[in-house]
Assembly symmetry: C2
Homo-oligomer: 219 residues x 2
Amino acid sequence: MTESAPRHSTTTPEPPAHDRVYRGLRQQVMHGELTPGQALTLRGIGRQFGVSMTPAREALRRLTAEGALSLSASGRVTTPELSNDRIEELAQIRALLEPELASRALRRAHLALIDRMEIINEANARAIHRQDPVDYIRTNLEFHRTLYLRAQSPAMLGLLETVWLQLGPTMRALYTRLRRTTAPPHHRQILEALRAGDDAALRLALRSDVTQGLRHLQG
Amino acid sequence: MTESAPRHSTTTPEPPAHDRVYRGLRQQVMHGELTPGQALTLRGIGRQFGVSMTPAREALRRLTAEGALSLSASGRVTTPELSNDRIEELAQIRALLEPELASRALRRAHLALIDRMEIINEANARAIHRQDPVDYIRTNLEFHRTLYLRAQSPAMLGLLETVWLQLGPTMRALYTRLRRTTAPPHHRQILEALRAGDDAALRLALRSDVTQGLRHLQG
DNA sequence: CATGCTCAAGCGTGATCACAAATTCCGCAT
DNA sequence: ATGCGGAATTTGTGATCACGCTTGAGCATG
């Protein structure tokens, strides 16, 4: 199980195993590659990443601390199955944080950024047309994160990412179920408000975008 | 190192060691019992709680995931030394979340709750008079949390608690430095707004209370 | 056909160890 | 006094193991 790849000593110092496992699992959860209620075992994770139980345990502990995974009373770890109330609340948190982050990014959003968002949005539209839920979620989050990175508010973005993480498996289940075929209507409004430098319109567009996506569940 | 206490089998099932360690450290951090930059070692924590490195490692991993502790490049763990920018940002997050939580709690805040907050506030005033920073922080957070619990928004309260956690050691350093002798002036306004059922006044009082406490640093 | 029971397989937990990297400390030279 | 270099100590990391509990499949019982 030892790493046999020779290193040039000047390359990157190779991150610890528990961090590799953490990042791998985190991406799987956030992008909706796992369905709600899916069980994860220490030995299984260890096998999947070629490590022992120890780094697997640390990665799972870290992810459960962020709310990405939920812990049963007996210590077993699964992807969370969120109640409707919990989904609603997480959406409201998004609706609180994301307009704020967008507003903070507005003054720093130059044209190159908006162009980049446009490109990501096109990739998002392709993912929808291809009916690919994982790539849809991935590009959608990338669209938002690209904007929020300009807000220069790392703590707030960090909080928001844990919210995204908690919603990952649910979003997957949701978008697979309703098989949307039309692009998110509010992304265009977001881009237009950015170009116009219109703070109020930007906040409204984000609130709508965030709310709409998750409100479909409450049927 | 085995647990020798006999159990009646019908008592509480005794939480795992890593959880005991986590809770102990979390309280120390949140209540400002640790100063910023303080180093924590696996073997040291293990010794302090009478366990091996393994549960200590899990507790530290969990706390760093919540931002309560910071991790150096070499894997060493310390309490965070926050930059002024970071403190400012965390205060702004509090100013965003806490008025929202208070507003949600408003309709459910009956008289018994307000009385309980009044009692906590008196304990808070005594802690100030006694110049006891740990008890000041503890009662201050308890005052706020008592209110927010009524908001029935566990996810939002959870996020807020991680923010409090990140500010713990800094608040300790702050309040020790400026040795305040006067009670937080906005707590009375909060209680009055609650009694009057005045949402706008409540939100304003909370924003002021949160902002004022941490703005003193920017000197 | 439904319900409760048994037990073996699989699980998380915590202790211990070897190892490599980092840090600390002490003595020497400046 | 002050800076530097190398050894000694301390540190996090990851593998492994034993232990006790949970769990679910299969079978017997109602």
